[in-house]
Assembly symmetry: C2
Homo-oligomer: 257 residues x 2
């Protein structure tokens, strides 16, 4: 199988012109097939504020009411996505910006209301892997915005980590996939105050022991659970690293031993 590198970057990187340009330059250098998944939460929050719309967050997730859905559709699907696409095209990368509605590549369902009503947030139900795989095989580089649709005419807000994980799992039948989650640290740290205490390799057994000892906690736990799930679904390698290190060795490699 041919190799595919699928990289997820958060809002902070793509929203500052200098760090975005560095990311695009590094991304363009990656050889072989690739996919970029981006966030944009900070820009969405800033735009909502300019429009007088309050951003409500619960457990770090955005409550997406009707007005907020319009904002994220504009910011994620328009502003952030198209600036990345234009920037990659300038570097000779044949980028194509997509929401889940485009080519119906990712269908979701509005999250059922339980303790929290997240509003227009979509849980992924179906990925049209053949249509994505066909584009990638033709050297198209999909740039995936954190938006899905319900195939009934509604766009839905979906977390970029989830988009990356679901796309990677669905494409695992077609490519030898490395999934890279970029965040602000060099990898998963043994000591959160020491940026160089990166855990080089994490197996499920090591993960368990680090969770029990409290070394790994908070939002990193679901991120790593997703990583192990991706590996179980056939993704070859998951790496947690910093955005400026995507074309270098390093970060935390998650392995399924």
């Amino acid at each position: 199988m041919e190799k595919l590198t699928l990289i997820k970057v958060g809002g902070k990187i793509v929203e500052e012109p200098a760090s975005l340009q560095q990311l695009l330059t590094d991304f363009a250098k990656i050889e072989g097939h690739k996919v970029l998944v981006h966030g944009g939460g900070r820009s969405a929050t800033a735009m909502a504020a300019r429009l007088g719309i309050e951003s409500k967050m619960v457990n770090g997730r955005r409550i997406t009411d009707e007005e907020t859905l319009k904002v994220v559709t504009m910011v994620y699907g328009g502003l952030v996505n198209k600036q990345i696409v234009a920037g990659l095209q300038a570097l000779g990368v044949n980028a194509l910006g997509l929401t889940g509605a485009d080519l119906n590549y990712m269908r979701s369902e509005k999250r059922p209301v339980k303790d929290v009503d997240y509003g227009f947030v979509g849980d992924v139900k179906e990925v049209n892997a053949p249509i994505l795989a066909d584009l990638i095989a033709k050297d198209v580089v999909p740039v995936l915005a954190p938006l899905t649709h319900d195939k009934s005419g509604n766009l839905l807000n979906t977390n970029a980590d989830t988009i990356a994980g679901e796309a990677a799992k669905a494409l695992a039948a077609y490519f030898d996939i490395t999934l890279m989650y970029c965040f602000e640290k060099k990898g998963v740290l043994k000591d959160e105050n020491d940026d160089d205490s990166v855990i080089a390799e994490l197996t499920p057994a090591l993960f368990e022991s680090y969770v029990q000892s409290g070394v790994i906690q908070g939002g990193m736990i679901p991120k790593l659970e997703n990583a192990f799930e991706a590996l179980q679904a056939g993704v070859k390698k998951v790496v947690i690293t910093r955005a400026d290190l995507i074309d270098k060795e390093g970060g935390t490699i998650i392995i399924n031993l």
Copy 2:
């Protein structure tokens, strides 16, 4: 050659939920290959106003400064485009939203400053017809936003009529094209006060005589000149009609006799 219907609709139609839904329903019924080109100027003006950005127009064209470029990128490329794409997918149409940057399908150059500095407005220089034709042949329905790029990382604002005309001319080598420009009247009128005075057919000779007699004037003149240019470039048929009549006979048919 297979048939392709390329329809351009203005902002007013796509910005009101009821007329948008009617348009999408009518558009979905059109048999064979199709492309939809949309505007969005009214939404852009409204969004700019909410953000405290003044919309400056000269000769009916928007002056696109840096802040305005962000607004049109959000509104045309995000909000309007993705709502259309999601609406068409709900009707079983395999829509794919595109700006000129996506797949580098339409490259432009920033308009040189002469009497007026239009700002970040792009004049179309190159259409990547094979990549569009390939998608269309696979029953993908491109939904084209009025945005292009300069292949140097900059998105540019480009009039939707121009996008439609340039796409039609470039695709004429691949398909038997009908290009429909929708506006608020049933067609080109002999008497602007009589909505039923539609001119059924316009040849270059008839056009000349109507211009000389003052029957055809103002913004309709460049629209029709574009239509004749499209026919000369190989487009089979150009129709000027009202958006709610796209799946019916009628309107003004422009022919190159």
